[in-house]
Amino acid sequence: MGKRRKPKLAVWKFASCDGCQLSLLNCVDELPALAERVEIAHFLEASSAVMKGPYDLSLVEGSITTPRDLERILQVRRVSKFLVTIGACATAGGIQALRNFKDVKEFVSIVYARPDYIETLETSTPIADHVPVDFELHGCPIDKRQLLEVIGAFLIGRRPNVPSHSVCIECKLKGTVCVMVAHGTPCLGPVTHAGCGAICPSYHRGCYGCFGPKETPNTASLSREWSRLGASEQEILNVFRGVNANAEAFRKESDLHARRND
């Protein structure tokens, strides 16, 4: 084993908050073992040392929001053998994709006194809209155990155990009492991708969808239930327009409510 060339790991950042990269640095107990197994070849947040590509495993954080990044992601893809996108920004466009529903020029002028200096795209889009992606890890932020799982699976060549079912299953595996049924608190868990470990319900709040849509999400049915529990159209619109606003299932559902709100 020892003689084998260590795979090179690279971490890339696009428009994001750095939280997903930080998840890697939060793997305190596992980092020594990881540094044994891989060459941390490009990870600007943590190291000034940069090794040349190609990289065996690239972790890409952030969404595409500028013309410069449009070019940079192509370059990253070219030097990456296996490319994993991490986090809601990279997999769905992130919270900054809320601009996709508005006129971006207006956004710029709200924030910046000299809008003409700002070079930005009309939209914030996920990496997979621009280059082929080998695996997507969801979450805002990603869960560090899942990140380790993906890296571990990559190293040995297996499928990562990252199920795409609902958060509800995680609630039940943990023994958390359903907040929707037992408190009447609206919860996005039934349409949200598992992975966080059902954190919000165990803190007595409804899930707000930070892991994005699960497979086959029935957002329409859940919206109906939310209104039955007293949520306003505005609240329903807003919850689908969160950190995964641009994920297809959430976007479609929110568009419906936006139209109803008008």
Binding site: I156, G157, R158, R159
Partner: protein, 294 residues
Amino acid sequence: MEVFSNRIEESPAGGPGFFNPWIPHTAEVIGKRREALGVHTLRLRLRDEGVRRSYRFRSGQFNMLYVFGVGEVPISIVSDPDESGVLDHTIRIVGKVSAALVSLKKGDTVGLRGPYGSSWPLEEAVGKDVLIVTGGLGCAPVISVINYVANRRDRYGNLKIFHGVKTPKDLLYRARFHAWQKHPDTEVYLTVDHPDLEWKYNVGVVTNLFREVRIYAQRSVVMMCGPEIMMHHAVRDLLAQGLAEDRIYLSLERNMKCAVGFCGHCQFGPAFICKDGPVLRYDRIKEWFGTSEI
């Protein structure tokens, strides 16, 4: 459940060292042969002598093969049940576990649990014509039965093998088909949907062949394996030719995690493919077989 009486009741319940059915044994890769692009046969030998000696299987059954750290998948046993001590598995690379299995080398170790499931009706078929219908990218479960019958030509009637694929390059075991063709009283019919210039056999779906070839419905047993839609058409056409529903056997595939009826994944209506199947008699599943997304 008497509906599925061809399941093997004497299969290794508390059998030889299989007390906890979740625990694999280890087996050594003792040989490896390339069959076609992305298809290889691994020859395995159980490492523990006691287990090896008591291990018995029937044609049509499968093992769960485990690659260290990568995962475990169901794979049919294609070697001859009477050849003692070795187990052949023909594996097509479709994903991570199958790829990892195929990447193993001689001397490597796999985890092995089995044998599981029902088998082909080879006793019932003695003295009868055997019709093999198979399609798609080479279906391992029928290889075992063809081998079995081909090696015992005197016990069975005429052997007809119908094999259909999309294009000539999907025809994986060309050499094997040629070899079988040379066996006495054996006919091999190959067909493709989209021929190329060199293709010299039939063209069209496999079921077209039934009309051209003389089939003695009364004295035939059909064994079938392949994409469900292909089998669906084949069954319909064979019934039209007068074959009885209880003479048609299908081998089905479903997701499997345990292979012993605990995990629930392989349910097909009332049947568990892992213990009632994979080989099922058509009349017992016909309502389910016609329904989509079962």
